[in-house]
Amino acid sequence: MEINWTWGQAWQITYMSFGLVLAILVMLAVVTWLIGFIGGRKVRSANETVPEHERTPPKQ
């Protein structure tokens, strides 16, 4: 057991860790949305070069 911690350290660990988790998950949300957006654009541009009956159906 540490015996030399302070409440300042404890609060710093708390808000830094929680803030880090929130920041990373927000980043992951944005990146995931981008992956979906780019994937959707690829499908749309691929559909423009193929006959209609061979097109990938749009995402629901």
Binding site: A10, F18, L22, I24, V26, L28, T32, G36, G39, Q60
Partner: protein
Amino acid sequence: MEGFFHNGIGALSWGNAVMLAVGLAFIWLAIVKKWEPYELLPIGVGVILANLPATGLLVQPHEAGGEFGSAGLLGVFIEYGLLRYTILPQLIFLGLGAMTDFGPLIANPRLFLLGAAAQLGIFIAFIGALLLGHLGVAEFGLREAAAIAIIGGADGPTTIYLTSQLAPGLMGVTAAAAYSYMAMVAIIQPRIILALTTRKERKIYMRPQLRSVSQREKIVFPIVCTILVILLVPGSAPLIGMFMFGNLLRESEVVPRLVEAAEYSLVNIVTIILMLCVGASMPAEVVMRPETVMILALGLVAFAGGTAGGVLMARVMRLVSREPLNPIIGAAGVSAVPMSARVAQHMGQKENPRNFLLMHAMGPNVAGVISSAVVAGAFLAILG
């Protein structure tokens, strides 16, 4: 001849006897009540083996002094699988990744926020544990507080992983608490959800049809997640790396034998060994202390706080979201997969029989697994 008559009866203490009863209780919960049987059954057996005296099963290799045949089976598993190299929880995460479908989360990325908010309980318990230490009620420092608080992540392997690194003496109790509370999700969560939401909110209808997620997205996601998260929190690499590796095996669809091995053989074998070790980490002299009750209480606070955090975040998101968002799914940010998603499904249907919230709830559910691993990585980076 004296050895022939040597038995454990004389060495059995009252504490051992109580813990034998606890072990039997875990076995009863697993077999009769069917509470997390894959975890509680081997934990119960481990507890019994740890509290039958003079067996030598728990002698770890470093304690045996290098003498051949003197280390015990459980001692070997505990020292090399948990304390010295901590590989068992990481291997479990590989198997869990192979079982996980990130589709609902990829289809609705805003649900990541619910997984993050549901980690609030961890930090409430962290401060609570430190307060008890500060008041002199328990010997909880920063490392012990983090090891106790991670129970709120409702993720057994993460709890075991972090506790074995920061406070190995608490591992048995924290892991048993985590798995017990996960088994009680259906009892703990509904009350909190009811307290924090209105009837009108619980009736909100979410269309059951999520957008379809392509295989390409499901392949790119674990790769990007691995690189991004580990660059930012290197301490999370063992858990996130293995989790996403298992998921990539699954989503690639080119290695079905490896997926099958990860999902079944690997997970099953490691579960047996890991849960036996967890139980074996609960000898009477470690568990029968006042701190154990405090750990159980703080674990419950962490769990409840996490549920509350997820629900409250969902309520806030509902106000700014263009699409309907039922706050019940916020409770699924607690990463008890898939139990808390099922709780959300059940409560949602009870309030509105048209509602099918399971797939929506799986999004924050799996986001919670990532979030709790990130928290563990952060704690390790700061306190390890």
